[in-house]
Amino acid sequence: MKLISILRLVFLSAFLVVTLQAGPSLAVSPEEMLKDPTLEARAREISAGLRCLVCQNQSIDDSDAPLAKDLRLLVRERIVKGDSNDEAMEFLVSRYGEFVLLKPRFTMKTLLLWGFGPAILLLGLWAVHLLYRKNKSVAATAQATGAVELSKEEQDKLNKILSSESDS
């Protein structure tokens, strides 16, 4: 029962979240911040893309958890040492795995994840295309058999449009 083991795992982490989030601090605190505003801005940008590992989908920039604070300090440490944004990210991935990235990398593993939305859009476009082709052929047959006559509703609509045209 894989599902059960996952549920159990999730409950365990839920327990962790509850215990760890009890700390009173509020995400980024003043003493963590770098003096240089450009470096600090970069640190914030990187932090927003990194997951607080013990939280549910929160970035370390938003999280109150002590672990998030450690990661924030780590990011700043790397930046001060001269890492580029990518290098700092890479460093964290090498330490904590891809789980730390809030934007998963595009790999075979995540092909379906990235591709599903666009695939549905393309499939939908194709279905709509088929619908219109069918509509067109239905309309053509109707034309050929002379079955095009306006319904009462359509006639009313036509009258309305014509009258609003004459208003102007």
Partner: protein, 661 residues
């Protein structure tokens, strides 16, 4: 005793729901009117029973009866009265009871107001509603009984989770559930149509008010939840793409598509099969949302209950309803006759486009929400899918849709004229472009694409009135004639305009607030001041107080603009006595109803100074005002008499029809 009666009422309601599940549908199969007519009284009686059960639990909470386990776990005798009431659904058992209660309210409403419904449709619809009620009542009774007693009653309760002790809990969950559960009605109607194997324009007219109601409440529920998070959590975020938020957002997206496809079905008899499928999918997503939140399979800020037994139970319900619904659809959908031919450029075509993008966006959110779970279950690999993913996949799909919105209402049915529609929109386009130029020219900072985002919002806001302008002949007819035409218009025209206007406002709010917000995090001593966006915040002092079940430490900050006093802000750090858990209570000042100054307190430093966060959030209230406007749009559409079969046309409409004839 009251508690035991409540429990008994719930069991009686379950017994009734079993009857409701079988008898009316059987009656519809064998054409027995007496069996079919059983549905309405049962639905109404059931509402009464569940209502009494709910009242019994509420009574226990208000009187702080800690011999009831649920009350003991989630409430405290010193809580303010409002929170004693809201504690009822601030926990798993109680919130499931609220879920079922709202379900039977909707059922009773169909029973009471559905007099004009064809008897078979009504019997089948209420029968299907009975299945859902029975399943969830069983869930409550078996796995989540809120009426469980404790042998030795404790003297004091364990208090409600402090994060939930807020007016937000009084507003957000009931509205959200009214939305979630409201979609059960359109689901029941769809299944009923499939059972009967027939469906017509009247069916769509019957379903549309329910979809509108559910959609309106869901809109409001999501947005109130978002505002709650915004002021409660203390760092000014309002949407996190958290799985629990996605769980409510997916039915909203799908429901929005349903709202639009039902129009095509009602007016033109087209897209029947698609509309049925959408209404099954929308309620399936509601159930999925309930599963995700209630089972604890995803844990987040919202998940305050976890228990695997429940998870498996809801999973079974989920598979039964979604699987059953979709199988029935696959089996019977071909029996429904399609009608209504239309060209790609037409009102129908624009609504198809709307559905296409909304469905794809729903798919993107769905895969982003479930993929990490599925991947871990199958390969064991752990990945995270967060805000950056959703911004990249969901965002680009919204842009073409938003740009297309103002065109839709201007196109004629069957075959429209895009050029003519564009001519009606020159004003909107001009103002939008002007806005983009002005923002580029005069506003500093912010991402390069922000002015374009604002432009799209302005395009939506102005463009949403184009149909009203067209129909009333404003700037063409005399002023008084235009005004009288405006009021004579079907209310659904106003509903659509308001709905689209609201979307535009929300877009503007999101773009402006996220692009141009200013943040200042600092350590302040008494007497210090910080200046942000021209406003000076001076730290005047700290004040301690204690009330109800918590104690407060409040800062006093004087806010001035130049020499002028703007306001005094009092952000609070609050500690709840029972759980010893701290929360931040932000203080917010709103300028001209749109821009907010937002303050929250952080840690107290060793030297007595305070960590302070100050935000300047331009136009941020537009995010939620927009959703309010969308809600009013739904109300306007609901007030449209055409949605009530048999209701006589109002005099004003008759006059307008005469004047245009």
């Amino acid at each position: 005793m009251i508690i035991e009666l409540g429990h008994y009422m719930l069991i009686l309601a379950f017994a009734l729901s079993l009857v409701q599940s079988v008898v009316p549908i059987w009656g519809a199969q064998i054409d027995d009117n007496r069996m079919m007519s059983v549905a309405s009284p049962i639905a109404i009686t059931q509402f009464l029973f569940v209502g009494l059960a709910f009242a019994a639990l509420t009574h226990a909470y208000v009187t702080s009866d800690f011999s009831v386990q649920n009350v003991w776990e989630n409430s405290h005798s010193t809580q303010p009265l409002l929170y004693k009431y809201t504690s009822v659904w601030g926990n798993h058992e109680g919130s499931m009871l609220l879920w079922v209660f709202i379900l039977v309210i909707f059922g009773a409403m169909v029973g009471a107001f559905g007099r004009n419904l064809p008897p078979k449709l009504k019997a089948n619809t209420l029968g299907v509603q009975g299945w859902i009620t029975a399943a969830f009542l069983l869930f409550v009774l078996v796995t989540s009984n809120p009426f469980h007693r404790i042998a030795d009653a404790p003297i004091e309760g364990r208090d409600l989770n402090p994060i939930l002790q807020d007016v937000g809990l009084a507003i957000h969950p009931p509205l959200l559930y009214l939305g979630y559960v409201g979609f059960s009605i359109s689901f029941a109607f769809s299944i009923a149509a499939l059972l009967e194997g027939r469906i017509d324009a009247a069916w769509a007219r019957w379903v549309r008010p329910w979809v509108l109601t559910a959609w309106g409440f869901l809109t409001l529920g999501i947005s109130m939840g978002s505002y709650w998070a915004y002021y409660e959590l203390g760092w000014g975020g309002y949407w996190f793409w958290d799985p629990v938020e996605n769980a409510s957002f997916m039915p909203w997206l799908c429901g929005t598509a349903l709202l639009h496809s039902a129009i095509v079905m009602e007016k033109r008899g087209a897209l029947k099969v698609w509309t049925i499928l959408l209404s099954i999918l929308t309620f399936s997503l509601s159930l999925l949302g309930t599963f995700l939140v209630r089972s604890g399979v995803l844990t987040s800020v919202h998940a305050f209950a976890t228990d695997p037994g429940r998870g498996v139970f809801i999973l079974i319900l989920l598979v039964a309803f979604i699987g059953g619904g979709l199988s029935l659809f696959a089996w019977r959908a071909s029996m429904l006759r399609q009608g209504g031919v239309f060209a790609p450029i037409s009102r129908e075509g624009s609504l198809v486009l709307n559905n296409l993008f909304l469905s794809a966006a729903t798919a993107a959110v769905l895969v982003g929400t479930l993929y990490p779970l599925a991947l871990e279950a199958t390969t064991g690999a752990k990945i995270s899918v967060g805000a950056p993913f959703f911004n990249l996949t969901f965002g680009p799909m919204m842009i073409p849709l938003l740009i297309a919105v103002p065109f839709g209402p201007l196109l004629a049915w069957k075959r429209g004229d895009l050029g003519a529609a564009m001519q009606r929109l020159w004003t909107a386009l001009g103002i939008a472009i002007l806005t983009v130029i002005l923002v580029y020219g005069y506003v500093e900072g912010g991402p390069a694409l922000a002015p374009l985002g604002i432009g799209i919002g302005v395009w939506l806001v102005i463009g949403s009135f184009a149909e009203i302008q067209l129909r009333s002949g404003f700037f063409k007819n005399s002023f008084s004639k235009a005004i009288s035409r405006m009021f004579g218009m079907p209310k659904s025209v106003w509903g659509a305009a308001l709905g689209h206007l609201g979307v535009g406002m929300t877009v503007i709010g999101i773009v402006v607030a996220s692009s141009y917000q200013l943040e200042d995090i600092s350590i302040m001593k008494v007497g210090d001041s910080r200046t942000i966006a021209g406003y000076t915040f001076t730290f005047e002092g700290m004040k301690e107080s204690s009330e109800h079940n918590y104690s407060d430490v409040a800062g006093t900050f004087r806010v001035t603009e130049g020499d002028k006093l703007v306001t005094t802000l009092n952000p609070v750090k609050r500690v709840y006595n029972t759980r010893g858990m701290p929360t931040t209570e932000t203080d917010i000042y709103t300028i001209w109803g749109v821009t907010q100054l937002y303050m929250s307190l952080g840690d107290k430093q060793d030297n007595g100074a305070m960590a302070v966060r100050i935000y300047y959030k331009p136009w941020v209230t537009f995010i939620w005002l927009g959703s309010l406007v969308m809600f009013f749009g739904a109300c306007f559409s609901l007030a449209d008499r055409r949605l009530r079969i048999g209701a006589p046309a109002r005099k004003g409409r008759a006059k307008q029809a005469a004047s245009t004839a």
